[in-house]
């Protein structure tokens, strides 16, 4: 089984693909989370009716398969807007909005989970809306949101495999290139899976650590 043609330069090639997966994920999850918090807070503040257009826009990103979003966005940027964007840029833009759409749902639900009576108590102590948000709502909502957010980040990491359609060579694409050349699909997929695991593990553990730390209260 370990009698393989895989060379150290091939491994390096895979590692580079893994690096691309990490970069695309980190950028998209970061931007997507910031946007998701913004959209989530706006949706809570405006209420369901006034925020309906925003919700509808975000729902598109949640319901259309990511592969189609990537291909269409790429074509739209190039042919309609005539922008010369790299596949990497398009991939990050689409994945960021995709993350933001899911994240805004998580944020909205987590803010709603903070009891209105607790917020009322904060306001009655003279806190402004912003102070209530910052010192009461955000810390409490973060605790509620964390498990779902970790799930989202890990999901985006795995979904980022689809960015190959806009010519970004990430981990899975790198693996496929090697499979075509070396004809050792099972072994290579095992290594690829191990890479994915190594990327996910720290995040999952970090989430577990935070949950434990916050469980005192």
């Amino acid at each position: 089984m370990f009698d393989t043609a895989l060379s150290s330069s091939d491994l390096l090639f895979l590692a580079k693909g893994a690096g691309m997966t990490i970069i695309v994920t980190v950028i998209s999850v970061t931007i997507g989370t910031v946007l998701g918090i913004l959209f989530g807070v706006i949706r809570v503040q405006l209420g369901a009716v006034l925020s309906a257009p925003l919700t509808f826009f975000l729902d598109i990103f949640r319901s259309v398969p990511l592969l189609i979003q990537l291909v269409l966005a790429n074509a739209f940027m190039g042919m309609v807007l005539r922008l010369q964007l790299s596949g990497f840029t398009v991939a990050c833009m689409v994945l960021s909005l995709y993350t933001a759409a899911y994240c805004s749902e998580i944020v909205r639900g987590s803010i709603d989970a903070v009891p209105s009576t607790t917020r009322r108590a904060a306001r009655s102590l003279g806190m402004s809306w912003a102070q209530d948000m910052r010192y009461i709502v955000m810390p409490l909502a973060t605790r509620v949101a964390l498990p779902s957010w970790i799930g989202l980040a890990l999901g985006v990491m795995k979904d980022s495999a689809l960015v190959y359609v806009v010519q970004v060579t990430e981990l899975l694409k790198s693996t496929q290139i090697l499979i075509t050349r070396l004809q050792e699909p099972l072994f290579l997929l095992m290594i690829c899976g191990a890479f994915y695991f190594l990327i996910s593990f720290p995040l999952a553990r970090f989430g577990g650590y935070l949950e434990k730390r916050w469980s005192n209260d």
Binding site: P115, T117, T118, R120, A121, A122, R123, S124, L125, G126, M127, S128, Q131, Y135, I136, P139, L140, R143, W214, N216, D217
Partner: protein, 240 residues
Amino acid sequence: MIEIQNVRKSFGPLEVLKGIDLTVQRGEVLTVIGGSGSGKSTLLTCINGLEPIHSGKILVDGTEVHAKSTNLNKLRQKIGIVFQQWNAFPHLTVLENVTLSPRKVLGMGKAEAEVIAEKQLKHVGLGDKLSTYPSRLSGGQQQRMAIARALAMSPDYMLFDEVTSALDPQLVGEVLETLKMLAEEGMTMICVTHEMTFARDVSDRVAYFHQGIMAEIGAPDQLFGDPQHPETRRFLASVR
């Protein structure tokens, strides 16, 4: 002084306060009794501007609570309110619960805020719980913490909304003792309560609310001993 002048308030089609007139002097302890849904809680939340009113006026030390120009965050600094549900901030320790507002709203330094918070927490008998999280406190302790949290803002007025109603019977006494202590110290208080003995012992005046109207107000001896309004009589008979 809190002046409530012909205040009306509705939730949708339901008129909850139907023209309330009431003045509470500095140093006075007023208790408000009355049946469920009579508008007692609503009145308290209107006094510190948590709820809007539809007509009439509420003045606190001459400042009109619901005027557009009134800075409510500032006004609320002098009106403490404690609710039936104690509403601890669960992610903060007892000490942090109490220091948060003095620090962020009044701009106090950490050390200064902690001195005040410790003093108030000792005052309500929680001096040994400073670094505990609220989830490890009993209901009565959480409610006393909520009182200390409000007191740490050095309010001129305290509003209490059935602060013992959600407590196990054996914990009611400790919270009522705390309220009594405040009353004896000269705090101006409006207490909505179902504890008739407490109302009788502590109040300067007792008001009876019935379906959005203040049906009767008087000294405790008069209101409990010789109620004038038929609804007051009916209510007192039902709770005895």
